[in-house]
Amino acid sequence: MALEDLAMMRSVHGSTVLYPSDAVSTVHLVKAMAETKGISYLRATREKVPTLYGADETFPIGGSKTLRSSDSDVATIIGAGITLHEALKAADTLAGEGTNVRVIDLYSVKPIDWAAIVSAVQDTKHIIVVEDHWAQGGLGDAVASILADANVPMVKFTHLCITEMPRSGTPQELLEKYGIDAHAIVAAVKAGI
């Protein structure tokens, strides 16, 4: 597991940086990479995770997928890879308690789906980015730079990411210990209400 790779690859001129969350999107994005000029990078995680998408979904570079949304979302959770699955668990837990949140699969970290993020900012009060990466240079920074650039009213922004030097453990232990699991996401949503 690397915690610097997204920052490193995002900084390369003209690069494409992809972080799929399931097998179907991985296949689509590997194929898209082969057709993409310049430097492209795909982070493929080790953990087995449930397939989220049907075979006929498309994953254009620069796009994203909104997996949960309603008219009454109180927050948007943005993740990719392993953390997207935590975001979905958190959304289900919250839905059980009557709280709706939007969940975005940010599989294309660069270029980024500006429009989806801007609408999320407009529609929901709280943007929560959750990622398995250091604070600097990953998904959180990519989203924060849109919040700063887009001419939209400021919303609450929470960045759940790795903030201390990790040690060995099972994936679930690590997600929990470093505050990027479903519990931490639920707590972040509640803190924003």
Binding site: M1, A2, E4, D5, M8, M9, V12, H13, G14, S15, P20, S21, D22, A23, V24, T26, V27, H28, V30, K31, M33, A34, T36, K37, G38, I39, S40, Y41, L42, R43, A44, T45, R46, E47, K48, V49, P50, T51, L52, Y53, G54, A55, G81
Partner: protein, 405 residues
């Protein structure tokens, strides 16, 4: 032994290359004339007798490749482009101007340049990739010639390249090391210890030839030997930085310095006031075409039932294999972790299109760039953390406007 006239033609061209390196850097007010002056003799011999390149048609598949791993020495490369009639004298004198394609370090904006160099330690590894493409993919007889600096030989990536080149038996690759004893700030670790360079190249499985880099007859013999070797060849040329001019030859303090106009004037007189009008005809390669690839077919995506569990890395391997089936131009490199990254799924299906790069991430990325420079598509895989080791290669790949995966 070449006749007197041939030997004289080498000397005359070498003098012109030195003079032009000085003229264009003095006109620019910056650049590296002395780094090219040490290399002028071997470049003259190479261009007149051994290089096969159609400068009218740089895309010709069977052209040789000439890369300056020591990219900063490009004034002499540009002087060579002038001498073969590829650029004019007027264009040579635009070196380092804002709108000139002759930048301070070579980039593929120049049609005869395969990769941007300047970050030392990268040209040889990229050349290894081109030579691998030549031997295993194009299956063409072209040669890849790489001009390396001796101070550059301190870079670890050069040794990754030496090792992989020997492993892949690249008898189509020739590295010429310009052992001019000096780096940027002073002497290198080995100075003129030619035996040490030879021992290193031989230890890595190369055929090493030590030669007086200013003796054109000896250089001719060294190149002749390199043409027939059954291994990658290192021509280790003992040279003087700034050779040909009394106040620069072998002297420190001149690295990366253009001569002042009055110094340049004196230098040109010492070089015999070359007229600068020599234009040579470089031999053209045989008009051969790359080996056929397996035919393209429709992409058939592997399928994964909703809700069932798979890892993304497993899907990466499946996707690569599916791509390999649909496109004959897809290749893969991995640095000794193919059973973790699942690139072995591709390897099992297409063993001839998979290159094991061992635990040498820098050369893995550079080799991919070299193969891509020949028009193929290469996917590199390793653990995400280890790509950081090749970050400078990736960064320079962007400068090259290369496509890398």
């Amino acid at each position: 032994m070449p006749d007197e006239a041939t030997l004289q033609s080498y000397k005359d061209l070498a003098a012109q290359l030195r003079a032009d390196s000085i003229r264009c850097t003095t006109a620019a007010g910056s650049g590296h004339p002395t780094s090219g002056m040490s290399a002028a003799d071997f470049l003259a011999v190479l261009a007149i007798k051994y290089l096969k390149y159609d400068f009218q048609n740089p895309k010709m598949p069977n052209n040789d490749h000439l890369l300056f791993s020591k990219g900063h020495a490009c004034p002499v490369l540009y002087a060579l482009y002038k001498a073969v009639g590829a650029i004019s004298d007027a264009e040579l004198l635009t070196l380092r101007q804002f709108d000139s394609k002759l930048e301070g370090h070579p980039t593929p904006e120049i049609p005869y340049v395969d990769a941007a160099t300047g970050s030392l330690g990268q040209g040889l590894p990229i050349g290894v990739g081109i030579a691998m493409a030549g031997k295993y993919i194009d299956k063409l007889p072209y040669k890849t010639w790489i001009v390396c600096g001796d101070s550059e030989m301190a870079e670890g990536s050069m040794y990754e390249a030496l090792e992989i080149a020997a492993h892949y038996e690249l008898n189509n690759l020739v590295a010429i090391v310009d052992v001019n004893k000096l780096g940027q700030r002073g002497e290198t670790q080995l100075g003129h210890d030619m035996a040490a360079y030879k021992a290193r190249f031989e230890a890595f499985g190369w055929h090493a030839i030590v030669v007086d880099g200013h003796d054109v007859a000896a250089l001719d013999a060294a190149f002749a030997e390199a043409m027939t070797a059954d291994k990658p060849v290192g021509i280790l040329a003992k040279t003087d930085k700034g050779h040909g001019v009394s106040f620069t030859s072998g002297l420190p303090g001149w690295h990366g310095k253009a001569m002042k106009p009055e110094e340049a004037e004196k230098a040109l007189i010492e070089l015999g006031s070359p007229k600068g009008d020599i234009v040579i005809t470089v031999q053209k390669p045989e008009d051969l075409h790359p080996a056929a690839l397996s035919p393209n077919t429709d992409f058939v995506a592997p399928s994964y039932p909703l809700g069932e569990k798979y890892s993304a890395r497993q899907a990466y391997g499946d996707a690569l294999k599916a791509l390999g089936a649909s496109r004959g131009d897809i290749f893969a490199n991995d640095s000794e972790v193919s059973n973790s990254t699942f690139s072995e799924t591709f390897k099992k299906a297409y063993p001839d299109r998979f290159f094991e790069m061992y635990i040498a991430e820098q050369v893995m990325v550079s080799v991919a760039q070299g193969i891509e420079a020949r028009g193929y598509t290469v996917f590199c895989s390793t653990f995400a953390a280890f790509f950081a080791r090749a970050f400078d290669q990736i960064r320079m790949g962007a400068v090259s406007r290369a496509t890398l995966h």
